[in-house]
């Protein structure tokens, strides 16, 4: 009898030691006195008791030994959530009976008074493990993950595939889909590793994701500035994957569980030259920018295709699940702006865009509250979609090749058949600047200097924006009467800017016509005024590089002037 009792006791002591390495015994969920963590009982040796009891358990399975916190939690919600997370139930409420920080860890049903903890700990100490009763910064739980939900969302796995380590409980997504409270083979009791976001991918199947640099890039952090991967153990973009930007708990940006709020901080921790080679943050610090800083919480992925409340966030122009380096010939959208929404040449919302200009049209076409054009002209138009319409008398070739098939000034590789991008003119200045209209020292986020003031002394620099494509030599020194009498006379001799006569985008056919508004002619009325003799302010195209003007400029009356 004595011997067998000793054996039993010995066995009892040995069994935990003999258990396979992946046992609750070796984890911080062993809250007993033998536990490896710092939050643990002062004397209690039983391990299961903190959660389970063989008798008189809480009605909540499995044999729960704790009270239901019985609280009303603030739930996760966002405009893109199809699921309807309810108050936590199932396994979730069990986890929360410790992890919301309201019930003493040692308060179990099978003991008359709470089991004492070391260091006087009662409830869950503050920190990552204490989720609080505000679950709006945590991944939603306790919702029905049905095939219908997956179909509605469009980027979720069919729940029928969840038969492996990630599982649902009664078709509900609960904490236990991602966490196994008894085993901790990875970290944080996860059921699957988060390396390269393997865990997330069990459910989330984001469109485009397989090809994006955010999944594939081996880039590392140079150690300067903020640690972009402050909540993971990984050190490359590809290893962090979803967690480059998202956090399943304690998310700084509650909506869509972003690492940070405001929005741009998620991007700029990497796109500041510390991880990604190009320093976008520097561009956004210039005087003329797509100002991502001034507004926060306005952008919403569900906002209408035609933007109604003006704002510019990084994710308005970039789809972080899709972005990649993949050049495309104009007018096609390249990889940087792949998978974003836009508005097509007919003014109809499209998702995704096919052409770059469709992205610009979201805000610069039919949106309300657009600023007035920077130049006051005889024909006013600030809807760029109408300015670039291919039915117009003239336009820069954004949607299709231009109307004029005789443009001698064009520098190679440009020809009359070329199509160009909005971003050929509107982009960050500087020869090494990253592509795209992030920020420039020139107004209108122009890539090069473009002087519009009257009496500007002509130079290559002053009009470099134009001279990049239109040969300065041909424009102002060519021998013909046009070159001499028109361009040289006005630009060089009279110090008039290109912008005085030309409206660089185009003239809408709704307002202009093929007699008066070819060659992007639409006078700036701050410089050019009507001819007092006829009262006309007009250019007339007479064909064959011939025309006449009725106007007054620099005190010189054209009533008309021919060339």
């Amino acid at each position: 009898m004595n011997l067998s009792r000793i054996m039993i006791i010995l066995a009892g002591l040995l069994i935990p030691l003999l258990l396979p390495a992946q046992s609750v015994v070796n984890t911080v969920h062993n809250l007993s006195v033998s536990g490896p963590g710092t939050v643990k009982a002062a004397g209690e040796s039983e391990i299961c008791i903190f959660c389970h009891t063989p008798h008189r358990s809480h009605p909540q399975s499995p044999l729960w030994n704790r009270n239901d916190p019985g609280l009303n939690y603030t739930l996760y919600n966002s405009s893109t959530t199809q699921a309807a997370p309810g108050q936590p139930d199932g396994a979730a409420i069990l986890c929360l009976s410790c992890h919301d920080g309201t019930i003493a860890l040692g308060e179990v049903l099978s003991r008359p008074s709470p089991i004492p903890f070391v260091n006087g700990v009662t409830v869950m100490p503050p920190g990552n493990a204490n989720l609080s009763t505000d679950l709006s910064d945590d991944h939603p739980v306790s919702f029905h993950y049905s095939a219908t939900l997956a179909a509605e969302d469009g980027e979720l796995a069919d729940p029928a595939t969840l038969t492996g380590p990630v599982r649902l409980e009664n078709e509900q997504l609960q904490c236990t889909a991602c966490h196994d409270p008894h085993r901790n083979p990875f970290s944080d009791f996860l059921t699957v590793s988060t390396l390269q976001s393997e865990l997330c991918a069990y459910c989330h199947q984001k469109d485009y994701w397989d090809n994006t640099s955010h999944k594939l890039s081996p880039a590392t952090w140079n150690g300067a500035g903020n640690d972009p991967w402050f909540h993971t153990p990984y050190s490359t973009v590809s290893d962090n994957a979803c967690e480059n930007c998202h956090r399943p708990h304690s998310a700084g940006g509650h909506l869509r569980l972003m690492n940070h709020f405001p929005e741009e901080d998620n991007c700029l921790d990497c796109h500041n030259g510390n991880v990604a080679a190009e320093d976008i943050q520097m561009q956004l610090g210039k005087q003329y920018t797509h100002d991502v800083y001034s507004r926060s919480g306005v952008h919403d992925p569900e906002e209408p295709g035609v933007v109604e409340v003006r704002h510019a966030e990084c994710e308005d122009c970039h789809n972080p699940h899709a972005s990649r380096e993949l050049p495309a010939p104009a007018p096609n959208a390249n990889g940087f702006i792949e998978g974003v929404r836009g508005v097509n040449s007919a003014g109809v919302a499209v998702d995704p865009i096919q052409y770059q200009y469709e992205l610009c049209y979201r805000c610069h076409a039919d949106s309300p509250d657009k600023p007035a054009s920077p130049t006051s002209r005889q024909i006013e138009q600030n809807n760029v979609r109408l300015e670039f319409d291919i039915g117009n008398p003239s336009y820069h070739p954004i949607e299709a090749a231009g109307q004029n098939n005789n443009v001698p000034s064009l520098l190679p590789p440009y020809t009359e058949a070329s199509i160009i991008f909005c971003s050929d003119c509107h982009a960050s200045d500087g020869s090494a600047a990253p592509a795209g209209p992030h920020g420039s020292i020139y107004p209108q986020i122009l890539k090069f200097q473009y002087e519009t003031a009257d009496f500007t002394v002509e130079s290559y620099q002053a009009y470099r924006l134009c001279y990049e494509c239109h040969d300065r030599q041909t424009i102002i020194f060519s021998a013909g009467s046009f070159g001499q009498r028109v361009h040289r006379q006005h630009i060089v001799n009279e110090d008039t800017p290109c912008n005085a006569c030309h409206d660089p985008h185009g003239i809408s056919s709704l307002q202009g016509n093929a007699t008066n508004n070819t060659h992007l002619i639409n006078f700036a009325i701050t410089i050019v005024s009507p001819d007092p003799a006829s009262g006309r302010l007009e250019f007339e195209d007479l064909g064959n590089v011939r025309g006449r003007c009725y106007l007054t400029c620099h005190g010189v009356q054209h009533s008309p002037e021919f060339y």
Binding site: S4, R5, M7, I8, I9, A11, G12, L13, L14, I15, P16, L19, P20, S23, V24, V25, S32, S34, S45, E46, I47, C48, I49, H52, P54, H55, R56, S57, H58, P59, S61, P62, L63, G90, A91, E169, N170, H182, R183
Partner: protein
Amino acid sequence: MKHAKFVTFLFSGLLMLNGLLFSQTISGSAHDFSNETWNTTGELCIVCHTPHHADVTVGDAPLWNHDVTAANFTLYNSATLDATVGQPDGSSKLCLSCHDGTVAVDNFGGQTNGTQFVSGGGLIGTDLNDDHPVSFVYDATLAGNDGGLFDPTTTNSGLGGTIDEDMLFNGKLQCASCHDVHNSSGIAKLLIKPNSASALCLTCHSK
């Protein structure tokens, strides 16, 4: 697995020896009814066993002398349970013949008008949804399906043999898998082995 027939044979003899085998340990335990006023025989074993006219309604009951419960039990259930749990049978039904609170403790030896009922912690009741499941087959297949259980046929129970040999009854998990009704090892709550460091639970659960 225990050999009921052999036991029954042995058993009659043992009872005649006035329960010498278990008397030392059971006496003084919660199951020692020899000093109860309602037990006029003053015997230890009589409330549960009798060598004669034993109740055979429960299969494999060891010469049962106690009124057997007829209650219909609410069974344990959960989203993660893999076992098929049935109405209590075998020795569990015997335990519940006192511990469900529907049958009087002093309903033994043919008596059915007893007045002593278990109460407090001893009262398990007829709702078993808040109790560890019992009366189900626990075999290698279940262990495989669950993934968090040891194979009972190969895992040492710490009591000398495998879980199956020492803790299961015809392959089934019962109240007596965890409890020793006779208190032979004198562990609190009539446990079959100590539960310090949750050693009892971790015998079967690979958690």
